[in-house]
């Protein structure tokens, strides 16, 4: 797939994956609506298989492989939700996922990949060593490398999340998605363009990892250097593919403070009784920091995942 996904590509992706993923529910909270004087719809990808939207893209990509490719497995380097999702999708579709994982990755992430049958090769936590380790895996196994977001099939898969939102909720003023490498936001933008008329799409980034904000502002990709945020899913840089889709389609990018991310996460835990990871809380943080803009408006917020060791948090 060498071109930006079309409307038909996203419809086909949805058809392809729908028996392999959960159609996640959309929750509302009257108490949060009351606090923020807005009409918010929370798309609960924390309930997605493997605990994050990443399952959509991973499944779409694996299901698009040839039989020969499938027989040799898939590979990636990641310490996060993409690794877990790729491992579970591979297991569900009877192939193998090889993961190059930094030896500093949290135990909870390692265990998730292992519990889904993923084969881990540990490497040093540098980009160089990760790429070298991955090349070695691919050379040895013949597995297909699946980039977490610089891949149009991944983007088409992530786009199905917003397709589901727009099939369920009409006349949304805004759609908000967390912004890391830009795969989810790219998919959100494409689905909004194809399946909605007037919804404005906003990407949300922590202030401490605002490389995408600066990249879009200045029209060139800045790498994410030493990002400092609790939102551990949003540390990566944009890629060529995601940069171009975002630059062309996004309404705006909002950056949010760490303190608000935590406050938003606790608010969702306490009021909605659901567990989300810090990256997911950025979208509510954006509404909290910009109440005037969202006053009286309807907005869908993508809660991207729920993989967090909540026992490690204390106020």
């Amino acid at each position: 797939m060498n071109n930006v996904p079309t409307k038909i590509d996203i419809e086909s992706a949805h058809e392809r994956i729908k028996n392999h993923i959960h159609k996640t529910p959309i929750f509302t909270s009257s108490s949060i609506n009351k606090i923020l004087q807005s009409n918010l719809f929370f798309k609960c990808e924390n309930f997605q298989r493997a605990g994050a939207f990443k399952m959509r893209g991973a499944t779409n990509t694996i299901l698009s492989l040839t039989e020969k490719e499938l027989s040799k497995g898939v590979a990636t380097h990641s310490s996060g939700n993409h690794a877990g999702a790729l491992a579970l999708a591979a297991q569900s579709l009877n192939t193998t996922a090889y993961i190059a994982m930094p030896n500093t990755a949290p135990e909870i992430k390692r265990k998730a990949v292992e519990s889904y049958g993923g084969k881990i090769t540990f490497c040093k936590p540098t980009l160089d060593d990760r790429e070298r380790t991955l090349s070695e895996i691919v050379r040895k196994t013949g597995a297909t490398f699946i980039h977490p977001y610089d891949n149009y099939r991944i983007i088409a898969g992530q786009a199905t999340c917003t397709k589901e939102i727009l099939e369920e909720i009409n006349n949304l003023d805004y759609l908000l998605a967390p912004l890391g490498g830009g795969g989810l936001l790219s998919g959100t933008l494409l689905s909004s363009k194809y399946f909605s008329n007037s919804t404005k799409v906003i990407g949300v980034e922590p202030k401490g990892a605002d490389d995408a904000y600066r990249s879009i502002r200045d029209g060139k990709i800045y790498p994410s250097i030493n990002p400092k945020t609790i939102a551990d899913g949003l540390l990566t840089s944009l890629s060529e593919k995601t940069f171009n889709i975002i630059k062309e389609n996004v309404y705006k990018i909002i950056t949010v403070e760490e303190e608000t991310i935590l406050e938003a996460m606790y608010l969702i835990w306490e009021r909605m009784k659901i567990i989300i990871e810090p990256s997911s809380a950025t979208v509510l943080a954006a509404v909290m920091e910009n109440q005037k803009q969202f006053h009286g408006k309807s907005a869908a917020l993508i809660l991207s995942g729920g993989n967090v060791d909540i026992k490690s948090f204390q106020r």
Copy 2:
């Protein structure tokens, strides 16, 4: 309402309250089913308004008051979910809830009652002082005292939870409900008797608060003296009304260890990405400690509430 609720009483209660409560979802978890080799259905009353099933009974009772009674408000003594639910139900139905609350109640419970417009009178944390304070409130305001469970309208309201389960899931082998004062379990037993043929109902109690287990075993009510459990919703004693319904209808009472309650709570947090309070975890703990009995069986587990300060937990 002076008699044990009939089938028609429960149907009427459901009709009466259904526009004022959430019809909560039933979740499943393939990973927990795999671990326990059972087919479990979790009724998510943690998503109920005010965060617990107590909203059902409180709403049913308030909606059954005369106009004159309604104008004078309702009163109870409680530091837990009944107080919060009564306050929210009263606010929603345009009356006032007066709550006698021990001055040792956790801040989170006090804040919940206040946020729902409840009027709190603080008292000492003794039964004597709670009852004296409550009598004083009732004398001054003319409010109707609503006991948290020794009340057939409350029991009929709680029964609607299991009615919803049985309308959605057929041929359940077991229904499990947490057991404190016995209001939820009594309602569960009545609905199971009226709306199911063969489902066995099990009450679950912490070993450290096993007064109901002993009461049913010996055929007389033992008061709950110095209960020691993290399940703070299950500290109370049975009442005449709940004791009689339970004695006559329950399949068995299972008691569970504190350690298993915590393990079950973390399992649900981590795998299902939902927040439940310790009392709710007892039902999964019962399955974990009795895997042979539940092997290959289908069981509905009532997750009674989600009001917990999760930041206070660390392994």
